[in-house]
């Protein structure tokens, strides 16, 4: 708990200054809303924002799980096949140079306005750090452990299951934590490219109406969602990697 209060104090101070500056300079809400205006939008638009949040949460969670599953599967294939690693890894890096902003509309054209294109955008944004970390984690198994396994009836599969995979879990999770912070942004991109609901859609609609406070409220919720996903992943790691000495991560 002690580690929590410095960022909280800093955040509270920033919000306080923000409120003071906006009031002192008489900035209109549609230009730059004060924190209190954002708070009252959260309360007034609770129904609208709540429904949108549910939609976006579904996209984030499903897309993220898809990313983790695909990333780990790809990492395992890359780990077992040198040929695949040589052929596929450069292409995966190349794929990251395609801007998601451009990918989203293409997927919307191909797959329509449903949840599928959003899942794919979220997954595309999230999977890369997981793949890279998982491949590194699998390859960094202690060769001494592998030698020991070989003299103890350990075949290739046993070495993978009992040494390489558990050993790679911390690395996989650090990739997964980085990816968790991208998921919300991915969902918004997906919604912007074509949707009729979700927090990204709320932002898109509020913009021409100059409902700036509502945009801020939606962004606030998106940040909270990303933070929540990050916390959930960290918790899962503590559960699945209990042998890890006291967390080296925040």
């Amino acid at each position: 708990m002690k580690r929590w209060w410095p960022p909280l104090v800093l955040l509270a101070a920033a919000v306080g200054i923000w409120e003071l500056v906006v009031r002192a300079a008489n900035v209109p809400d549609y230009l730059f809303p004060a924190p209190t205006a954002v708070a009252s939008s959260l309360a007034d638009d609770a129904g609208l924002l709540g429904r949108a949040t549910l939609v976006t949460v579904r996209e984030i969670v499903a897309g993220y799980l898809l990313a983790v599953a695909v990333a780990v599967a790809i990492a395992v294939v890359l780990h077992f096949s040198t040929a695949f690693r040589r052929a596929l890894l450069p292409l995966l890096v190349l794929s990251q140079t395609v801007p998601t902003v451009l990918l989203a509309p293409i997927l919307a054209i191909l797959l329509g306005y449903g949840i599928e294109p959003k899942l794919i955008v979220v997954a595309v944004v999230c999977f890369f750090p997981i793949v890279v970390n998982a491949v590194d984690g699998l390859r960094s198994a202690d060769p001494e452990l592998v030698r020991m396994m070989r003299t103890l009836h350990g075949g290739r599969l046993a070495i993978f299951r009992r040494v390489e995979l558990p050993g790679a879990l911390p690395a996989i999770f650090s990739g997964a934590r980085v990816a968790a912070t991208y998921a919300a942004v991915g969902a918004v991109f997906g919604e912007w490219a074509g949707s009729s609901s979700g927090l990204g859609f709320v932002i898109l609609q509020a913009q021409p109406a100059l409902e700036t406070a509502r945009i801020f409220a939606a962004v606030l919720i998106l940040s909270a969602l990303a933070l929540g996903l990050y916390a959930l992943v960290t918790l899962t790691e503590r559960f699945l990697v209990p042998w890890q000495p006291e967390a080296t991560h925040a």
């Binding site: 001494e144 452990l145 030698r147 003299t151 103890l152």
Partner: protein, 261 residues
């Protein structure tokens, strides 16, 4: 100590009296001859120690015998079989560091080889558990390696090697990381365990005293060659302090140390 009985569903290949024969082995690593014409004979169930300085080629020799590596010249046969996979099938290696898997409890670490061999986790645990009590590890079954002392970790690592149910044990500096007192304790412990569970043992160490206490024969490896061979024919019963200060023991130690120089 009561008799250890390891149930086994698979007889170790070649029976339990498996010998190791090394002829003219050369292994070149990084441009130098790590092993340069090594000869070695270990009879079934004999215990042979190999001493030498760091870098003398001791670990390289164990890797070769284990079938984890192939010599550049010469032959190695374990139980009469020279192929690497046949050697691998007969040898269990206890590496320098304990190499316990941090994600497994002590009991599951000890049962590792059984699980690798296809025994279910439940049965593997059931077979490993009685040995824990008999070898002074009772109560530590559910602890992860991080919670074990250095001495306990080495005991679990040795148990794991024993439970692989292989006729040849290759011990690479098994107590190198321990303090002197724990080390002496574990040497006595290992002598008991091996008396109860006789195997063909090849023990590599830089500690001459350790080799003389645990082995029937001690070879000195220096710059990739065997330079001396000592039969340990002194009595080793009784307190350690008396054994290591007896004239015969002291003489053997001097001979070994001289050959290492």
């Amino acid at each position: 100590m009561s008799q250890l009985v390891i149930e086994s569903n698979t007889a170790p290949p070649g029976g339990s009296d498996v010998d190791v024969v090394v002829r003219g082995v050369v292994r070149v690593l990084g441009g130098t001859r790590a092993l340069d014409g090594v000869e070695l004979d270990v009879a079934g169930r004999a215990r042979v120690g190999i001493v030498g300085r760091s870098g003398a080629g001791k670990s390289t020799l164990l890797s070769l015998v284990a079938g984890l590596d192939e010599p550049d010249a010469g032959t190695i046969a374990v139980g009469g079989e020279a192929a690497a996979r046949e050697r691998l099938a007969r040898c269990a290696l206890m590496p320098q560091r304990d190499s316990l898997l941090p994600w497994r409890t002590a009991l599951d670490n000890a049962a590792l080889a059984l699980e690798n061999a296809g025994v279910s986790r439940r049965d593997a645990r059931r077979r490993a558990a009685p040995l824990f009590a008999r070898l002074g590890l009772a109560g530590s079954e559910r602890l992860r390696p991080a919670k074990l002392s250095g001495g306990m970790r080495q005991r679990v690592a040795f148990l794991r090697t024993l439970l692989a149910d292989k006729p040849v044990l290759l011990l690479d500096e098994p107590f190198g990381a321990l303090d002197a007192i724990t080390r002496a304790e574990l040497q006595a412990w290992l002598a008991n365990a091996l008396a109860a569970e006789p195997r063909t043992v090849l023990l590599v160490t830089h500690d001459v005293e350790e080799a003389l206490l645990l082995c029937d024969r001690v070879l000195v490896l220096s710059r990739g060659r065997m330079t001396a061979e000592l039969d340990v024919d002194v009595p080793r019963q009784g307190p350690r302090r008396e054994v290591v200060t007896s004239p015969g023991f002291v003489q053997l130690r001097e001979q070994a140390l001289e050959a290492i120089e």
